[in-house]
């Protein structure tokens, strides 16, 4: 069965510092990987997908199949980045459900 692990439950960095939220997965096939973000009192929303290879709000994430990782990075953290971040996996074409990691609460200190 597929599994997503986010080893850090809480992460706190200062404004302007680099941020890396770790995500590792276990799945033998070719998964689709996602990062979702939940700001305070807001709904869960998609931040980025590995297929798109895009940068959203300064965040990027690269799928490393060798290390089975999909870490989320941002070079300079901003206070508005404080939120709950979830890494999620879907098995690929034809699969429907998302399997989520346990989430990382990111706090950016001024």
């Amino acid at each position: 069965a597929q599994r997503v692990t986010q080893p850090e439950k809480l992460l706190s960095v200062f404004k302007g510092a680099p941020v890396e939220l770790k995500c590792n997965y276990s799945y033998s096939g070719s998964p689709e990987l996602f990062w979702y973000v939940q700001y305070s009192r807001q709904r869960l929303q998609l931040l980025l997908r590995h297929i798109s290879r895009e940068s959203i709000k300064g965040f990027t994430a690269d799928l490393n199949k060798g290390e089975t990782s999909f870490h989320l990075k941002k070079p300079f953290a901003q206070e508005e980045d404080s939120a709950m971040y979830y890494c999620a996996l879907r098995r690929g074409q034809g699969a429907q459900k998302l399997v989520f990691g346990q989430g990382t609460r990111l706090t950016i200190n001024p």
Binding site: R43, L46, R49, R90, Q96, K97, V99, Q102, G103, R105
Partner: protein, 114 residues
Amino acid sequence: DTAVSQTPKYLVTQMGNDKSIKCEQNLGHDTMYWYKQDSKKFLKIMFSYNNKELIINETVPNRFSPKSPDKAHLNLHINSLELGDSAVYFCASSQDIGPRRTAFFGQGTRLTVV
């Protein structure tokens, strides 16, 4: 013009009661989901419906019964509520096929069983 909307946003009820949470999406998606977020913020899928048909049922107690009157709605009925059912329940929808099968989430329903 909210894409995925759930009602109610908050629900406080006593043990043993039966309650429902409604979900509607106006995105024209053909797949809808219910996820549960527990007190530790862990998100786990409960059900998935595709064109009103149950696709995924992730070992959820029989007290939970999803109902999809049409593909834009997926309601969650919970019978004989227990303390452990307290959680935030998220509805979501996505398109079944295509390269952009992104899941859109509702704002969540915080259920508290007392």
